[in-house]
């Protein structure tokens, strides 16, 4: 006898957001069902993967990462090209060098690197600050202006600087990555504030703030899960945005991902970090991630394979 499986009735949909410009631009979002629930609704745009590069040569990075990128890490332009060669859907340029608690490089440096990277690649580009409210305004605003034709993703836009960065996205037609500290209510509130400012619905992504595996992943998971429930079943239009997960930085800063075999007896270091990043990736995919920024290309391969298989049904 045929069994009729119960189906959930969804009342909302995630908005479709265009990322980047030109041939390599893509759409994310558009879901009308929970992640990979293709039997209940549509998942028109598969989740996309970006690789994360820095504006300066990385210090203290895991051997597994340095090995795969080789000398390219000495120059953000070659590094970005390498990422595209490796199959990244997009690149995130993290402005590590502008961190006031580190090298504290200025806007001139940031604009120059962003411009060079942007000119060197045709895939979409995200520019990520250091989550220092004031410094990010100082460096991200001129980048937004300089690259006004690129439809960049700009983040993290946080409550403290949402007016300045939101206005910059609005004025120069970029997408704002609205970032809140693993809190569903604050995520919603920031989107309300951005809307009030005039940032339109097709220009917002949600960054729930990611905790890596063993470092708060389950909290991020719950927040994303609840955001999707509110968006899809409660018609909460302030949460009907695609979700951007900047996870590579979180995974690879942990000692479990970084330490060489001689200092950590938890399996071979080359695999250890990738597997931690891959588990984080698959968990975030299962809870609604639309864009995932990782650091190791093997994680990206595993993630893409998982997405393809899940959507093949």
């Amino acid at each position: 006898m045929a069994v009729d499986l119960p189906k959930r009735a969804y009342s909302g949909a995630i908005r479709e957001i265009v990322v980047g410009k030109g041939d390599k631009s893509f759409c994310v979002g558009g879901e009308t069902a929970y992640p990979f629930y293709t039997f209940e609704g549509k998942i028109p745009n598969p989740p996309k993967f970006g690789l994360d590069i820095l504006d300066i040569e990385p210090e203290g990075w895991a051997g597994a990462l340095l090995e795969v990128y080789g000398d390219s890490v000495k120059n953000p332009v070659t590094w970005a090209k390498k990422c595209v060669e490796l199959g990244a859907d997009m690149v995130q340029l993290t402005l590590q060098g502008t961190d006031p608690n580190d090298k504290n490089l200025g806007a001139d440096h940031a604009v120059l690197v962003a411009k060079q990277v942007s000119e060197a690649i045709d895939v979409p580009l995200a520019i990520w600050g250091t989550a220092n409210a004031e410094k990010d305004v100082e460096v991200l605003r001129p980048i937004a202006e300089e690259l006004s034709d690129r439809r960049l993703l700009i983040g993290p836009v946080i409550e403290e600087n949402h007016k300045q960065l939101g206005a910059a996205c609005l004025a120069y037609k970029h997408v704002a990555i609205a970032s809140s500290p693993i809190d569903i209510n604050l995520a919603k509130q920031l989107n309300v504030l951005l809307s009030n400012l005039g940032v339109t619905d097709e220009n917002i992504l949600i960054d729930p703030t990611v905790g890596g595996l063993g470092y708060g992943l389950e909290y991020t998971y719950s927040v994303m899960e609840r955001a999707r429930m509110a968006a899809l079943t409660q018609q909460d239009d302030k949460l009907q945005f695609p979700i951007y997960c900047n996870l590579g930085i979180e995974v690879w800063k942990t000692k479990e991902a970084k330490l060489p075999d001689s200092e950590m007896n938890l399996g071979e270091h080359k695999q250890r970090g990738v597997l931690m990043e891959a588990i984080t990736t698959s968990s975030l995919l299962a809870s609604g991630a639309d864009i995932l920024i990782v650091r190791h290309p093997d994680t990206m391969k595993l993630g893409k394979q998982l997405v393809a298989e899940m959507l093949a049904g």
């Binding site: 569903i184 209510n185 509130q189 309300v192 009030n196 509110a230 409660q234 302030k238």
Partner: protein
Amino acid sequence: MFRIIAENINVMYKTIGTAMKERNKEPIQEMAEKLVANGADLLDINLGPARKGGEELMAWVVETVHAVCSKPLYLDTSNVAAIEAGLKVHKESAGKAVINSISARPERMDKLWPLAAKYNAGAVALVLGVDGIPRDAAERAANAAMLMAAAADAGVSPEDVWIDPIVIPVNSQQQQVGYCTEFIGMLPEMAPGYSSTCGLSNVSNGSPEKLRPLLNQCYLMMLKHVGLTSAILDGLDREILGIARGERADLEKLIGDTMDGNPPDMSSLNEEQVSFVKTTNMIMGKTLYSDSWLDL
């Protein structure tokens, strides 16, 4: 009849705290008289932890207050000896004193319910359990059942057991507020004849200051609708006192209808009514909390 417990005689408030420290009766008595004039049925005497000299202080405050009014007092401190000192001097003619509070933890229950019985007093039965704040309505009910059983064993009668559901801030734990409401709704069947009470203003803790009164007022009416029999309130806030006394039947009906699945036609409502319906829906969890819930 819904009873009002005024929260204002509290060591944390500057004038009162100083008066307690200096054993200056006047500000405390003035406050007590004002609260009674405003319609308080009981007065909460909150000494905080009162580790040092708590006994002497509690006895002094109880006598000070009872010199100007004849209302029963909530004796609110974690210092058990101070509570007993208060019970000893609490005027019989004022009615029954209430221990605030007894949680569902064996060491608290074993000590405090017999104390309530010994002095013919009541107590707030706080559903806080061994594992901390209960995770849902069922856990609240389980803890309440334990407290009720322990109270009965000690010989405290049901109406003297004031069940407190633990109100949680809606801005950070919206679901928990739903469980709290659900639990209060279970009490008429689960605990008929028992009293209930709550620290209402915690629901708005952390929300924008200007919206706190709306949240407090709305949640009070919601809890009244499901059967709450008393609340600890700001005894100087005329609006919330009016609501406690049932002076806003119009809003109570609107909120009750919204909760019972008969939502009003929003276009027929005035601005105040819309705010209360929106807030009710938000507290019920129909819409996710954000500080801007009224603007959406």
